[in-house]
Amino acid sequence: MNCEWVKENVTLYVYDELADDARHEVEQHAHRCIDCARELKTVREFHQQMNVLPQLEVTPNLLASARMELQEALETTEQKRNWTRLAFDPMHWLRQMRFSPALAAVLLMVGFGGGMGTMYRMAKSGPVAPNGGTPNQQTQEASISGIRNIVQQPGSNQVQIQYDKTFPEQVSGSIDDPHIQQLLLYAARNNYNSGLRMDSIDLLKDKPQDDRVREALIFALRYDSNPGVRLKAEEGLASFVKQDIRVRNAMLEALLNDNNPGVRAGALHALEPVKTDTSVRQALQQLAQEDPSQFVRTESRRLLASMPQID
């Protein structure tokens, strides 16, 4: 181990970037070599000097203000859609349209224009529907969801247009039907309408023994923006608090983090069968002191008081 190597690595040593064996070598060498010990001392002093520079620290107000401004900006920000990676999500697209009336109007015009283009030849013949039905029947049965491609045949007035259509569908069946359940699970996560999400959760909450349903309920309890939906999901999960650790954890999160006191109170009651669990007890102790809702504080104290004394 020579002085040149040590002097090259003393900065990394002071920043704790050396491997354990290299660090040991530097220390041993500095004990024996006055020059390298002096270099090490100089680098350490430089390190301390740089800390004299005053540093502004992030205050809670600054952080809170930054978060709020970000939240506001996110309201009007859209994600770039990566079509090659994600499948087309019609519900998300519809949600976007709800907030973009101008874009919706443009798409309607393009869709209508494209639809008309498929019905008429560019030469002067009458309207021809691609599937042989009347044009009016075609536009009534389906709505254009997007134009994929427009190709003009070279040297002619012929145009070929590829487009997508969406058809409204309806299905009826028992909630035990897997197809119905699949649609309900989709609606629980993806629908922009909280009423529809609540309807689907309301139906699904009677089937929490199904693993996929339980996952959807846990997701709704954790992430849904509507407290009514979260309450429904909580109701459905309550009976699984004892046997499923994921349900217990989701209830604990709701108990401590949910901004709705009704959801927190619901979580309190749901966790009563497992109140002696260490994590639940700790959460109850914290809530008894700090929850902003008096009802939640009182209920937490009541549950704590009803517990057997544990050393």
């Binding site: 004299v52 992430y223 959460a283």
Partner: protein, 229 residues
Amino acid sequence: MPADAVAVPSDGWKSAKMGQSGSQINSRRGHMVGQSLSRVNDAELIREAQRGNRQAFEDLVRQYDHAVLRLALHLTGSEQDAKDIYQDAFLKAYRNLGSFRFECSFYTWIYRIVTNLCLDHLRKRQVRKEDAPVVTDSSGEEYSLIDQVADDRSGASPERDLMRRELGARIAKALEKLTPRERMVFEMKHYQGLKLRTIGDALNTTEETAKNTLFRATQKLRAALADVR
């Protein structure tokens, strides 16, 4: 945020109800709650956020935003500039989340975005050739950095106080003379405590290059401060 730290679980924007900052609330959470929150798989959160779930994105952001704001504040010296970088970084992350393919950690990905924005800021600042090391608070009030290097210890001598203030000013001036990349690497290593490997990733380069940049930065700074006792 140290490179090898486990991302601290967030409790989401909902904790604003307590009227306190997220970091204070997190510090008082029960041990089991912290573990239960950490069971929310980051990959799951990212996928949910990629599907347009804003709450999932906000939960994800909460794990990193204090560290990002701190880095931006140290570099810019201005609360408003720091908030601008913070907002630009997370909005960019949100807009481009669809292109995140788990080829690196989300931590690295976020730091790449933030680092690039900070480098842009440093480059613009260099072009404007700002000399005086001043900071601006959120009300727009400017004050000299030198005034902040006060020694509040009782019995501190005015001479020592003056020396510290002069040293502070010289350090600030010496830092301004580094190139943006050197400044960035030094800031992330010395003041943020990140590993060189993380710094290399954030700058989209190798650990070795980050190491060499750190050497150059420290050599320049040591030379600038060589005559200081």
